[in-house]
């Protein structure tokens, strides 16, 4: 090891003037860059994006083959591939983020971050903002790409629907990634975080739905409500642009607001958890 000329004799760097702490926006930008670098979400989100795009393109190919050519059919051909892309991307990317945040907590990077940025609330707030921005940007890219494929492949009748699907799907993806981040922070380990997400989002709602037929009516109603407000159901509502023509934007908005509520709640708990956490 060699101490170079940029340091004073003996390897001691020259004193710098005291610089102010980085503002929250600057922290958010730094966190965004970390997500996009080696060790962040870059590789995993690329894999997820390719998978989700493949699902969308495959759905488009099948639907176009089966299409009867009328207006209703054209809307389905234009919207369902984008819906399938955005919902599969949001779900898989949220699991990836939960895994990443859990690993980040367990292997100490969060500890290092807390040492250099002692304002823990600002730090976690910046990380939440970065994850949301990353989800939004990658969501726009992957659903937009499938949207372009759909439009170029003869789905031109549904351009507005495709655009709506890209916007709603990307927003839903951003909220799901925030949810995944919060679960990862709360669980404190990658495997636990992924299992918790799978249980909460898929296994419990599915099992509850199946079991409700065997339950008394009052209990079954409560179970149905629980399934209705589960994140995956809300995600499905938030990305289903194909129903907008028939039923309006009510379901779509309900889904997005529901996801926003879950994200806000879990984010607040995660911020609180990190604020008092000992390392």
């Amino acid at each position: 090891m060699t101490v170079r000329a940029n340091t004073r004799a003996g390897g001691v760097p020259a004193r710098a003037t005291s610089r102010p702490p980085v503002p929250v926006v600057g922290l958010g930008v730094a966190e965004c860059r970390r997500l996009a670098r080696q060790g962040g979400l870059r590789n995993a989100s690329l894999v997820v994006a390719v998978l989700a795009a493949a699902v969308g393109v495959a759905a488009f190919a099948v639907l176009r083959y089966l299409s009867s050519g009328d207006a209703a059919s054209a809307t389905v051909v234009a919207s369902v591939p984008v819906e399938a892309t955005s919902s599969s991307f949001a779900l898989l990317a949220a699991l990836v983020v939960a895994n990443w945040a859990g690993r980040d907590s367990q292997r100490g990077m969060l500890g290092v971050s807390v040492v250099v940025v002692p304002r823990r609330t600002a730090l976690v707030g910046a990380q939440l903002g970065a994850v949301a921005a990353y989800g939004l940007a990658t969501g726009v890219l992957v659903t937009g790409l499938v949207g372009v494929v759909v439009l170029a492949g003869g789905g031109g009748a549904g351009a507005a629907t495709v655009l709506g699907g890209v916007v709603a799907g990307s927003a839903a993806a951003a909220l799901m990634l925030v949810l995944g981040y919060s679960v990862g922070r709360l669980c404190g380990g990658p495997m636990v975080a992924v299992l918790a997400c799978l249980a909460w989002w898929m296994i419990i709602p599915l099992a509850s739905g199946l079991a409700s037929a065997l339950l008394p009516e009052v209990v079954a109603e409560a179970v149905a409500w629980f399934v209705d407000v589960s994140p995956v159901t809300l995600l499905s509502q938030a990305t289903t642009v194909s129903s907008v023509t028939a039923t309006g934007v009510g379901d779509l908005v309900t889904g997005l607001v529901g996801l926003l509520g879950w994200s806000a709640l879990l984010s607040a708990v995660a911020v609180r958890r990190v604020a008092v956490q000992s390392f």
Binding site: R4, N6, G10, V12, P20, G39, G108, R119, V276, F279
Partner: protein
Amino acid sequence: MIEVTGLVKRFGSTTAVAGVSFTARDGAVTGFIGPNGAGKSTVLKAVSGLLAPDEGTATIDGHRLGATALPPDLRGVFLSAEWIPAHQTARSFLTYLCQVQGLPASRVDEVLRSVGLLADANRKIKGYSLGMRQRVGIGAAVMTQPRNLVLDEPINGLDPEGIRWIRDVIRGVADRGGAVLLSSHHMSELSMVADHVVMIDRGRIVHEGAVTDGRVQGSDAAGPRRVYVESPDLGLAARLLRAADLEVRSLDRGAIVTGAGPEDVGRVVFSGGGSLSHLAERALSIEDVYFRRSLEDEEAVR
């Protein structure tokens, strides 16, 4: 200045740190020693803002670490190479630290060059040796050119050149007027850089003293005083000292007298008609202090 006052930390029913108070002064390197499980890491984490004490305070230049925005160069911290994320490269890790602390991007290469890892900067850290991970961690700690340093076992795994480098870094921060709190089990290294030593055991401070030429001054708390004597008639001097209930043990051309200071040893020998050609208080090394305390603890247990 790093100031710890009345620090108490409990984990469930276990009290890890019980009312620890000490000061790491500006312009000095304070060695922080103690056996495993003594509470060193808990104190260092409290000083670094990684855990909140149940009672007491830990401040750096008067700042309590927590929600308040602080200048990034207030302190540099290295607690363990295990904290460095293995799945990142050294460059991406240091780049992130640069960005969240508002440092220019050029600082990354400067730090990598200074720790000798520029050529390995784009390799994942999980492929690094312990010494390389230590260098990344110490580089991260000093990248803001901090006024104060908190280091836990920084020389583990370092090669001799690396040890000399970290010694210079530590000495440099102190020479610039900053405080360095340095925990290490390498007593010989501590002897070379520490100006002051604080020993903790079972969550309490059991010894504090200045270090001069590798010797701990004011060692009363660590055991009885010891004096080295030489005499033209060592046998007579030894008999006189033993008659005064002092312990005498031969060493080289002289003897170590335990249980009295040089003034008393000289008085006993001269008043008995003996003579001395050499008389000097034998201060304890940091290692002596460490092992003496450990021995006393073992005897207390027996």
